[in-house]
């Protein structure tokens, strides 16, 4: 029996101790009409047969050189990251409610919180949310709690559309109004709104969905001048290069939220990733999710424990800051090890490499006949190219060359039909970039 240890004699002895004869009798309080003896499931497989079947399924996914981003990025993950994160003591542990038996996980979270606060320039980071998009929804709810009253949220039209849809779903349940902030179609960056209306907060994406860098200082100052909170949406790897949200404008952004996947998390078809959320200490009581603090035991020994749990659902129930319980713990463990393994230097070096590869690729692709660059602004590692054919068709044709060439903006209802969002990371070497240019040239000649 897979994963069950009992032999017949042990089962019999245990049944006798309970005072029943058969396993079925253990369910004698359940009305017989509700009990079924069979279900439409396949027969079980041996581990060997299971492995064979799933290896076949894995091979049925095309191995593609990845030039796609849009919120999920292909990066190198040092071997030690998952070697350690996969250790049973991390992998199979529960939420660290019993602090004395969970000092490993708790210290990892404390170090994670420390790293995130340094990346974002803010004072407090929680222990993670499900992903960047759901984290942004939580940040908006947090902003509304801080600001009080029946207010709206200003949402840029160049926020990743997948994130906008999550805001629509989650905030829509509480009838919260989302007011769109348009972007300049010529530059791809945000236009300062004429007035703030009754908004509680402005979302500021750095980079935006087109890969472009926004004038974050001016946007943050505008938000504060109108009494709004500034919610920064950031890529944590980009923060190794870019100005930290905590020092945007004259006062700094109030919250920073983002997708943690670039920090050592495999692409894995879309998850599990993790969302990070950082804020000012003055607003920590409105922060959703778990938080770890350093303290001491009765003998004065340093230790770590979960803190301010009265914010959470297991204590406050319907009045909690969020319903979140299970978060993305193991992803945070991996991200912490990843950040430590690369170090501050390695993270900066990786970010610089991503940027240099993207600059080079953009230059190469712009040289392909018929290809143009619709936006001229600064970017981190993603940019838009405008193709002379529908980007969807070009993307599909390039699959045949073993390339995932990017994301057609038409899939998002943005830009023009020929617009393709392309990403380059440190994984791509010069030969890969040249191969992309060659393949694109061939495809455009034949389409």
């Amino acid at each position: 029996m897979p994963y069950i240890a009992h032999d017949a004699a042990e089962t019999a002895a245990m049944l006798a101790a309970v005072g029943v004869e058969r396993l079925d009798q253990l369910f004698d309080e359940i009305p017989p009409v509700l009990q079924v003896q069979d279900m439409a499931l396949p027969e079980g497989l041996s581990e060997m047969a299971l492995q064979r079947e799933l290896e076949g399924r894995a091979l049925a996914n095309a191995p593609l050189r990845c030039f796609a981003g849009g919120g999920a990025y292909a990066h190198h993950i040092p071997a030690i990251v998952w070697e350690i994160a996969g250790r049973g003591e991390f992998y199979s542990a529960y939420t660290p409610y019993q602090a004395e038996a969970s000092q490993g996980t708790l210290q990892v979270i404390y170090e994670y919180q420390s790293f995130i606060t340094r990346l974002t320039g803010l004072e407090v980071s929680n222990a993670s949310l499900y992903d960047g998009a759901s984290g942004l929804a939580e940040a908006c709810l947090m902003a509304l709690r801080i600001q009080g009253g029946d207010k709206s949220i200003l949402v840029p039209e160049n926020l990743l559309p997948g994130w906008r849809r999550v805001l629509d779903s989650v905030l829509g349940l509480q009838d919260i109004r989302l007011v769109s902030v348009p972007y300049d179609r010529a530059t791809g960056t945000l236009i300062l709104p004429a007035d703030a209306g009754d908004a509680a907060a402005l979302i500021i994406p750095q980079s935006n969905a087109l890969g472009l860098l926004e004038p974050v200082d001016a946007l943050t100052d505008w938000a504060h001048a109108h009494g709004l909170l500034a919610i920064a949406v950031v890529n944590p790897l980009a923060l190794a290069l870019l100005k930290a949200p905590g020092v945007w404008g004259t006062q700094g952004a109030d919250m920073a939220v983002g997708e943690g996947q670039p920090l050592g998390i495999p692409l894995s078809g879309g998850g599990p990733y993790f969302g990070f959320l950082a804020c000012r200490k003055a607003q920590v009581r409105q922060l959703p999710g778990r938080l770890v603090a350093k303290t001491v035991d009765g003998q004065g020994r340093e230790g770590f424990c979960l803190t301010l749990q009265a914010r959470e659902q297991h204590i406050r129930r319907g009045k909690a800051t969020s319903n979140i319980c299970t978060n993305q713990g193991l992803m945070v463990t991996a991200a912490t090890i990843h950040m430590a393994a690369l170090g501050g230097y390695g993270l900066q070096q990786t970010a610089v490499l991503c940027h240099e590869r993207a600059v080079r690729l953009r230059e190469l692709l712009a040289g392909v006949p018929g290809v143009s660059l619709p936006y001229g602004g600064a970017f981190f590692h993603e940019f838009v190219v405008r193709l002379p054919h529908a980007a969807v068709a070009v993307r599909d044709a390039l699959l045949g060359y073993g390339l995932l060439a990017g994301l057609p903006l038409s899939d998002w209802g943005m830009g023009e039909a020929g617009d393709l969002l392309v990403c380059a990371t440190e994984l791509l070497e010069e030969a890969d970039l040249l191969a992309y240019r060659g393949a694109l040239t061939s495809v455009l000649e034949t389409l």
Binding site: Y3, L26, E29, L34, P42, E43, E47, L50, G56, A58, N61, A62, L64, G71, G88, E89, S92, A93, Y94, A99, E100, A101, V108, Y110, S114, V124, A127, Y130, A133, R165, S169, V170, G172, L173, L239, L241, L242, K243, L267, S268, G269, G271, P272, T295, D297, G298, R301, E302, Q313, H314, K319, N323, I324, C325, T326, L330, G344, Q348, H355, L404
Partner: protein, 476 residues
């Protein structure tokens, strides 16, 4: 003094920042993270791991959490490059292998729960709950039934239930349980009316017993126009034997990180797939995997399900967790799922009897245990002042993780104990021996418990100091 990663920092040259990005947008100072050597990183985090209890190293009878063995084959399969390196925006023709796995999991979870349709996208139980109650809200709204604002929830329910209902815009009404553990039907009747959206129930309940009148409850709630939501936290108790769909539930979530053996990972990630009856299918959260007539698989989107409650995360959900759950279910197969609940129930009922034999008091002694049960140590508290927390902390000294304590709150000084089916009789017998010793210690040397744990890296921590000082980031 604990070892800090910030103690391992070597001086490295500054990285030159790109000159083509305006200086105003760049970092003003180098990124202030430590730069340890790889061996230092390896040792630091390996040593930290050794300060944890885990299923792989300790018995973990944590009620309501289903801490069963996490088969390693599932981890190995999820890490295959064909899955791990797959970008979420790969066109469907490039991810047929993954979509096949997800489609099968949807089908199998529907068969297991007796429901018509499944969405795998919720990232955890609480997000599944939110999706579930949002579907109930959308269903009523689609029928022009806008006055249904009240969600009924037992007082003993998991805290996520009222929190999720609140996030979905409902007013929560708590329903008490009777002394025998079943729901108070008279109270239920008083609150059924045209303003009822539905009821959220766990069955077996958080009290560790099966709600015997569930079909009657379903009839009354449906009669009042409400829908029933099933919190799948305790599905391990009935897996392969009783289907929530047949009990009368309209929507539910499954905690794949409990029932389907995916790891808890020190707090996550989980997966909270939702399953619904046919009438709620149009409202499922996106994306969902569908199989075309020709056999090709693709993601359904807003165009396919225009009345969907929408998306809960940027991509498809916790795919890596879903891959693990699929591997586990495929390994068990139709014969294996029933054994899960049978041996989970056997272990729980055996442990309950043995602990009663050595002097512990059951909260519901007349009831059959489900896959878990509640003890109360109120007798110890009266005799010596020893509390459930003290028993829990003393267990840690014996290399056994503490049971869940003080939940559900309506049983004073309670321990909620769930052994799961993957523990052997020998492990349970040792637990009984240890619990018997702790009971003797409580009566003879209570200070031994009050000061426990004695043999862990730290003793009981000053939580008030932690909250007051709020040192939540450091290393400077």
């Amino acid at each position: 003094m604990s070892d800090s990663i910030f103690d391992h920092d070597h001086h490295v040259p500054a990285v030159a920042l790109p000159s083509d990005i305006p200086a105003a947008l760049l970092r003003k100072t180098p990124l202030n993270l430590p730069n340890p050597a790889e061996l230092e990183v390896l040792r630091h985090y390996t040593r930290l791991s050794q300060k944890n209890f885990s299923i792989d190293t300790q018995f973990y009878p944590l009620g309501s959490c289903t801490m069963k063995y996490n088969p390693r084959i599932a981890h190995t399969m999820a890490a295959l490059p064909g899955f791990a390196r797959l970008h979420p925006d790969t066109p469907a023709q490039g991810m047929q292998g993954l979509l096949q796995v997800l489609w099968e999991l949807q089908e199998w979870l529907a068969a297991t729960t007796g429901m018509a349709a499944v969405s795998l996208t919720p990232a955890a139980g609480a997000q599944g709950e939110l999706a579930g109650v949002a579907m109930i809200r959308a269903y009523h709204a689609a029928h022009g039934d806008h006055g249904r604002r009240k969600m009924l929830i037992p007082t003993a329910a998991h805290g996520t239930n009222p929190a999720s209902a609140q996030m979905a815009g409902f007013d929560v009404v708590e329903i008490p349980n009777l002394a025998d553990g079943d729901l108070d039907m008279a109270f239920l009747d008083q609150h059924l009316g045209p303003d009822i959206a539905g009821i959220m129930l766990t069955n077996p309940s958080t009290l560790g017993v099966f709600e015997r009148r569930i079909t009657e409850i379903a009839a009354r709630v449906h009669g009042a126009g409400g829908l029933l939501y099933y919190d799948g936290a305790n599905l391990n108790a009935i897996l392969g034997r009783v289907r929530p769909g047949q009990m009368g539930f309209d929507a539910m979530h499954l905690n794949l990180h409990k029932t389907f053996a995916t790891p808890h990972g020190g707090g996550g990630p989980g997966a909270g797939a939702v399953a619904v009856q046919e009438r709620l299918r149009p409202f499922l959260p996106l994306p969902v995997v569908a199989r075309e007539a020709a056999g090709a698989l693709r993601w359904l989107d807003e165009g396919d399900l225009p009345r969907s409650i929408g998306r809960l995360s940027a991509h498809g959900g916790n795919i890596g967790v879903l891959l693990r759950a699929h591997a586990y279910l495929r390994r068990l197969g139709r014969a294996g799922v029933g054994r899960v609940s049978a041996y989970a129930a056997l272990n729980a009922n055996y442990l309950l009897r043995e602990l009663q034999r050595v002097g512990y008091q059951a909260a519901f002694p007349e009831r059959r245990a489900s896959h878990e049960f509640i003890l109360s140590v109120s007798d110890l508290q009266k005799a010596t002042g020893i509390r459930a927390l003290d028993v829990a902390k003393r267990l840690l000294d014996f290399g056994i993780h503490a049971p869940t304590v003080y939940f559900p709150q309506l049983v004073p000084e309670c321990l909620l104990i769930e052994p799961t089916e993957t523990e052997s009789k020998a492990t349970l017998d040792r637990f009984v021996t240890v619990m018997a010793q702790i009971r003797r210690e409580a009566l003879e040397q209570p200070e031994l418990l009050r000061e426990a744990p004695h043999h862990l890296p730290v003793g009981r921590l000053d939580e008030a100091l932690a909250a007051r000082r709020l040192d939540v980031a450091g290393g400077l």
